[in-house]
Symmetry: C2
């Protein structure tokens, strides 16, 4: 049944509950079959309600990037959180300490210098759980997966305020892949970076029970590699046009859309009320050639949202088109994670009806 | 005096009060000399406190894009607002009606069809003020500044629920100019589009007392053209790297910066805690060749923030650099308007001290 869009003020963030549930179940089924734990990254949805559904579906805990996100999720009842970010600033670490009273918290470590800064803040009576982040090719944070990881692991082992029991990576460079084969190669390298690092550490006498990989394009491949124990997909809860462009999802799987209205119809263009403050400017996280414009218009697949200003999207047209003022256009965004962060709430719908409104709880928690 | 950044958690949005006041005064001085009214666009700052300062400096009212922004500003005591957007949806018009109980509200009109939809919602006892928006070359919304504008004006004049007394335009295509001469040409065309349209209407017996131009790159040129009565700069309250790239402002005038921290130092790169959820991906609203990377790093002008993921910025480096974990980097954003919209508050500083925290009141008011 098609939802009665005419009554909804725009722009609005629509969440298809059936698709959301299917996406959560898909991840859970994959993980069950591959015998890996799931620790979804909540940067995509920033919603307690969605996080709780992920936990109900079997996730062992959550992944976040920010202490502020962790605080929101712990307040929402989540008990196990990986802050996948190399924290080192004292005010943030004091907040982590506080969170540890209510939940298990793990923090990323990616250098000896950072480990020493953590050590200054945590004491042996209540040590901080840390996982080493390795660089599997994204070349962002992360230690290289060679003897450097062993050196770091040995250093961390010598610090009484830290408790090391995991190694993880994020193969974000898979977003720039130009073929399914390239995604496969990256996924295998991602898993190898973690497994090799863990084995090097274990050969040096340091057990690494947790071996975690991430990234929506790669998790279904990397998650099947022998020795991997956990996956951390984020975007796969919604999917978006970047994932469709990569061949990772079909448009039908995309659970998140932006409802916009036509605000002006001119002889060679249509203007909608969704601009860069609504759809963001992402056209593929690291460059995705198959993205045309700024989102996919479901009612008119032939439309290209060619340019955005802050509150306008411009769709060039030729000849007469069957579109008039106040018509609704539903847009699958290029990058769901940044779009959700621009809205206050999700309008959650099922069977053609909006049945709930969920807060984007951790929206804009930048610190 | 330099502010003690070490105590501020990051990423944070810093507002230099001296620079802000100077930018507000500069606009006011220009307007006084050119004998034009000022109606700043608040999409840049979305702050009641800043809007109030603009009014105190002599602004006759404000410009907004969204009804939600107007509501916030009217609640903050502002009495005169142009909603520079061709509204046509009933729920939004009902909200406008409500606002009219507390403030003078003007709405943009850019087609006969839209005017008829407005007419359905407003009655002759309390007519809606409308200004016709003309297209001066941006090719977004707006009627063409020829006989079409007269046809529209005559149509509006025949509607008893509407009261027409202005024509305005926005020359946003000036953001894509490649030289000062091109900005000058665009600014003169912008003013001509409004003045010519107003004269055509007056020749047809429809007085147009308000003739308003906008756009930060052009307002100081278009505002001096004979027949123009009002300017509506937005970005000029802060300025940013896009304006610096256009030659419209100097870096020293930029009032808004993002304070970030170094979170990882590797042999060929530095990683900071400001990504696309902090700095946005803008590199010039409509393509600005002089922008390098994703913002200007004040402490290290040689740094280029080459890529952003959601919560990381990556700065490639060669050889040894004098940067360590937790060092603060202060970034002038490429596009201030979208960056402010990503934060909850401004940290307002003067004489090396944070003296206040101002809310981004209308943040994310998309409807």
């Amino acid at each position: 049944m098609s939802i009665n869009f005419a009554k909804i003020d725009t722009p609005a963030l629509l969440l298809d509950l059936d698709k959301l549930e299917k996406n959560i179940d898909d991840i859970a089924s994959f993980a069950k079959e591959a015998v890996v734990a799931v620790r979804p990254h909540i940067k995509t949805h920033k919603s307690i309600k969605i996080a709780q559904r992920q936990i109900e579906a079997g996730a062992v805990g959550l992944t976040v990037a920010k202490v502020g996100e962790a605080e929101i999720m712990v307040a929402g009842g989540i008990k196990d959180i990986l802050i996948a970010y190399p924290l080192a600033a004292k005010p943030k670490l004091e907040r982590v300490k506080k969170l540890m009273e209510q939940a298990k918290v793990i923090v990323a470590v990616d250098s000896v210098e950072q480990a020493d800064l953590l050590e200054e803040c945590f004491d042996p009576k209540n040590p901080l759980n840390v996982w080493i982040k390795v660089n599997s090719g994204l070349n962002r944070v992360g230690v290289d997966p060679n003897e450097q990881v062993v050196e770091l692991a040995q250093h961390v082992k010598g610090l009484s305020g830290l408790r090391l029991d995991g190694i993880f990576t994020h193969a974000g460079h898979s977003y720039a892949a130009s073929s399914t084969e390239e995604i496969e190669t990256i996924a295998n390298e991602e898993a190898a970076a973690v497994v090799t690092s863990a084995e090097l550490c274990e050969a040096a006498g340091i057990p690494i029970p947790n071996r975690s990989v991430g990234s929506t394009p790669t998790f279904k491949i990397a998650g099947t590699v022998e020795g991997i124990t956990e996956i951390r997909p984020g975007n796969a809860v919604f999917y978006d046009m970047v994932q469709v462009g990569l061949g990772v999802a079909k448009r039908e799987q995309c659970a998140l859309t932006v409802l916009s209205s036509v605000v002006s119809v001119k002889k060679n263009r249509i203007v909608i009320d969704a601009g860069s403050k609504t759809l963001a400017l992402d056209q593929g996280a690291h460059g995705n050639a198959s993205i045309a414009g700024h989102g996919f218009v479901k009612e008119h697949p032939e439309f290209v949202i060619a340019r955005l200003s802050e509150e306008h999207g411009v769709i060039p047209v030729e000849g007469t088109v069957d579109v008039k003022l106040n018509d609704r256009l539903t847009i699958i965004p290029n990058h769901a994670c940044v779009v959700a962060n621009l809205f206050e709430t999700y309008l959650v719908y099922r069977d053609g009806k909006v049945i709930d409104e969920w807060k984007v709880d951790a929206r804009g928690r930048l610190q």
